[in-house]
Amino acid sequence: MNETLVYAVISLSAIGVISAIILYFVAQKFKVIEDPRIDIVADLLPGANCGGCGLAGCRAFAEEIVRSEDLSKLNCPVSSRDAMKQIAAAMGLEAPERDPMIAVVRCSGSRVNAPQKVIYDGALSCSFAHALSAGESGCPNGCLGLGDCVVSCKFDAIYMDETTGLPVVSDENCVACGACITACPRSIIELRLKGKKDRRIFVSCVNTEKGGPAKKNCSVACIGCGKCVKECPYDAITLVNNLAWIDFSKCRLCRKCEPVCPTGSILETNFPARKEKPGEPEIVAEKTEA
């Protein structure tokens, strides 16, 4: 044993012990009580800070969960169900069951279906074009195609289809945060049940004009004729303001309504191909969801 060794051991141990003691007492004296579960929950959240939950970021969401001890009113749309279950477990609570949803674009007014009426020459923003009421097609409700929804999506789940000029939602990426719905000035996007194997049926139109003017602007507009309403065996379809809407909680994907629509404004996704009935125009081909 030589001197240096002894000094080294003593001094470091002394520093270690003294610091540990000071630290302990300081920690005792200056203790701030903060629920440790906040950190646990925050760790489990995705940290995207997207605001989809309606709160100011993930940390706020964690604090809210811990404060309210109630998960039923709080929901992070981004977290997987597993993550929510984990959070619930950490909190000792039940996670509310929730069927997965997805954003759906309810407009098929591509250039072909809804011909150009005026030239728009302004900021590339749907909100602005909407404020000018200047959809190039003339449909006062239709998609403006300037992509506010695309910009708003934090998950790269919407992109513009170059040929149709309409936004397309990706089945894989969309987490149903609803940002695009808020972004769209024309309320075209709707959250609907994701559906088994991503199968969905919906009216791809939001035009509330009467049949005549609607049809004048766009060949695939819903004209409010009500044929689908009559056809639906489950009363899932309602007609309000000349516009049909399929209630996804009632719809059983029987596919009866789609063929009767005279304008082809009902859209099906990811179903196996129907047997082709001769003579029926293939309108859906214009827009197929990815």
Partner: protein, 198 residues
């Protein structure tokens, strides 16, 4: 082998320099020449492996509140050992790496790995992780060093590639060159990652 992925993880997918962007100071500071990269990398790898090992082994003996303090003592010990050994046996290399050897202590990679990995796992994965991270770091800074040495000094591993008095782009071995090289390297890595979907 599943254990192997702890090792390969650090090489590319979670490369500490290019992907995690930790330990940036030595990455920028010592990479004026390729050889420094290897020296610094070796030293860091040594510390990483042994501190990961120690921490994984002792993790249950350390109360949470003094966790960081304990980690730091452990890391600092190995760093000092490296410091002393290099001083004794590779004095020339030691002279060039200078202050950055003691600073391995605060190299974010090491404490980061201690916190994020070693603390939660067993000894073998911890060693493999340390080794992978260390080698990943070594590769990265050697690459940086090579680029900067070639552009700035016209040589690699001290072998002159251009005529003795040819003009080289000096700035690459000066601080701005370090930042710029590093910036574009990360950009290229990101692009490659995207392209090849790694």
């Amino acid at each position: 082998m599943s254990q192997l992925k702890y090792f390969t993880n650090g090489l590319f997918k979670e490369n500490p320099s290019f992907v995690l962007v930790l330990g940036t100071c030595p990455t920028l500071a010592v990479t004026t020449a390729a050889i420094n990269g290897i020296g610094m990398g070796a030293a860091t790898t040594f510390v990483l492996v042994f501190s990961n090992l120690m921490i994984a082994a002792l993790k249950d003996l350390i109360p949470n509140k003094v966790r960081i303090a304990a980690f730091i003592v452990i890391i600092a010990t190995f760093v000092t050992i490296v410091d002393l050994v290099m001083k004794a046996f590779t004095p020339d290399l030691y002279a060039t790496l200078g202050i950055f050897i003691p600073l391995i202590v605060v190299n974010c990679i090491i404490l980061g790995r201690a916190e994020a990995f070693a603390q939660k796992s067993n000894v073998v994965p911890a060693i493999l992780d340390g080794l992978g991270m260390g080698i990943g770091f070594t590769l990265a800074i050697t690459l940086m060093g090579s680029i900067r040495e070639i552009l700035g000094n016209g040589s690699i591993f001290n072998i002159k590639l251009v005529a003795e008095d040819a003009n080289t782009i000096l700035i690459f071995i000066l601080p701005p060159g370090a930042f710029i090289t590093y910036g574009y390297l990360i950009a290229i890595m990101n692009r490659m990652k995207k392209r090849y979907n790694i």
